[in-house]
Amino acid sequence: MTIYGVALLAGCYLAGQILGELLGESMGIEANVGGVGFAMLLLIFLHDFSSKKAPLATETERGITFWSNMYIPVIVAMSATQNVRIALSSGWVALLAGIVPVLVCFAAIPVLAAFSKNKKAA
C-alpha cells in the first residue's frame, strides 16, 4: 500500500530530525545539526537492506517516489517565499557579503575535487 512507503519516509524523517535536534542541544546550540542528513542515510540504509531481504512492493516505493518527484515544485514554492526584496535592497555590504563568499567557494570546488581524486589514485 502506498501509505506504507509514505510512513516509512515519515519515520526516517522524524528519526533523523530528532537526532539532529538532540545533537544540536547536546552541543549547546540552537540549531538542528544534520537532521536531514541522518534521515537520508537511514532511508538509504533501510532501502538497501530491504532490497536484499524482502524488496519493497512497487506500491510502497511509489509512496516515496511521489514525494521525491514533488521536490522541485516545493523548491519553486520555497523560492517564492524568500525575502528577495531585502536581498536586493539592503545595500552593497550585504550584497557583497552574500556574493563574494559564493564566488570564492565556486572557485574552490574544482580544487577540492582534483585534490580528492589524486588522493584516491594514490
Binding site: L9, Y13, G16, Q17, G24, M27, I29, A31, N32, V33, G34, V36, G37, A39, L41, L43, I44, H47, D48, E61, W67, S68, M70, Y71, I72, P73, V74, I75, V76, A77, M78, S79, A80, T81, Q82, N83, V84, R85, I86, A87, S90, G91, A94, L95, L96, A97, G98, I99, V100, P101, V102, C105, F106, A108, I109, P110, L112, A113, S116, K117
Partner: protein, 252 residues
C-alpha cells in the same frame, strides 16, 4: 470577489499546489519552445518563484515573499522547511550509499573549508565597509555562512541589531545568489557528478540555495549536495560564536 479571496485563503495549500503547477507548466513550456531546453525548466521555474517573491515583497513589504499576499499564504506551508526537508529526504531513494561512504571524509573537509572561506570573506568585506570591532566583524562573517548562523551568532555574542539585520540580509543574498549562480557556472567548475556535488553542498552550506541550485542544474545531484549541506548551519552556529569569535577578538 471577497468570497473568492476568502475561499482561496481557506484552501491555501491546495491553491499553492495549483499555482505552482501552473508556474512549472509555463516554465517547462518556455524552456522547450524558447530556449530549446538549453535552460532547464526547473531553473526557469525557480527564477519565476524568486520574481514572485520580489513582487510579494514589494506589494506587502513583508518578509515571506508571495506568501504575505493572503490568497497565496499556502506557499508558506508548501515552501516551508517541513515540506522542503521531507522531499529532500525522499530524493535519497535514488542515491548510492557506497558513494556517500567513499566521499564521507571529503564532506567534512569541505564543510570546514566552506565555513572558513565564507567567514573570512565576510569579515574582509565588513572591514572594507569600515567595521572594526570583533563583534560586528564576527556577526557579518557568520551571516556570510547562512542567514541562520548570522543572527544566532550575533545574539550569542551581543552584536547590535542593525549588524544582525545586515548579517541576515547577507545570508539571504547568498542563498539567492547560489540558486541563480549554480546552474550558470556548473559546467565550468565540473559540477556534474555526485562527488563534486557533495563538495559543493559542504562549501556552500545554505540548504535552500544548494537545494534550489542543484535542482536547476541536475536533480540527480540533489541528495548528495543536501547530505553535506545539512550539517553546515549547525556547524556554523557552533564555530562562529566560539572559536572564530575568540580569534576575531584576539586579532582586533
Amino acid at each position: 470577489m471577497d468570497i473568492i479571496s476568502k475561499f482561496l485563503e481557506k484552501n491555501g495549500l491546495v491553491f499553492a499546489f495549483f499555482t505552482t503547477g501552473v508556474v512549472m507548466f509555463a516554465s517547462f513550456w518556455v524552456s522547450s519552445k524558447w530556449t530549446n531546453k538549453k535552460i532547464p525548466g526547473a531553473a526557469i521555474a525557480i527564477l519565476a518563484g524568486l520574481v514572485l517573491a520580489y513582487i510579494g515583497g514589494e506589494v506587502t513589504h513583508g518578509e515571506k515573499g508571495i506568501a504575505d499576499i493572503k490568497i497565496f499564504s499556502g506557499f508558506a506551508q508548501m515552501g516551508g522547511s517541513m515540506f522542503r526537508d521531507f522531499t529532500i529526504v525522499a530524493t535519497a531513494m535514488g542515491a548510492s550509499f557506497v558513494l556517500m561512504k567513499q566521499t564521507g571524509w571529503l564532506g567534512i573537509v569541505s564543510l570546514l573549508l566552506g565555513i572558513a572561506l565564507a567567514f573570512a570573506s565576510g569579515v574582509a568585506i565588513a572591514l572594507a565597509a569600515g567595521y572594526s570591532d570583533a563583534k560586528s566583524l564576527t556577526t557579518i562573517g557568520a551571516g556570510a555562512c547562512t542567514f541562520i548562523v548570522g543572527p544566532v551568532t550575533g545574539s550569542a555574542i551581543g552584536a547590535s541589531s542593525d549588524v544582525i539585520a545586515l548579517s541576515i540580509a547577507a545570508g539571504v543574498v547568498k542563498s539567492v545568489f547560489v540558486t541563480i549562480g549554480t546552474p550558470a557556472v556548473a559546467r565550468f567548475i565540473g559540477l556534474n557528478n555526485p562527488h563534486s556535488a557533495m563538495i559543493f553542498g559542504g562549501l556552500m552550506g545554505t540548504t535552500s540555495g544548494v537545494a534550489a541550485g542543484l535542482a536547476a542544474t541536475d536533480p540527480k545531484l540533489v541528495p548528495y549536495g543536501a547530505l553535506t549541506a545539512t550539517f553546515y548551519t549547525g556547524l556554523g552556529c557552533l564555530l562562529c560564536p566560539s572559536i572564530l569569535y575568540l580569534l576575531m577578538d584576539f586579532i582586533f
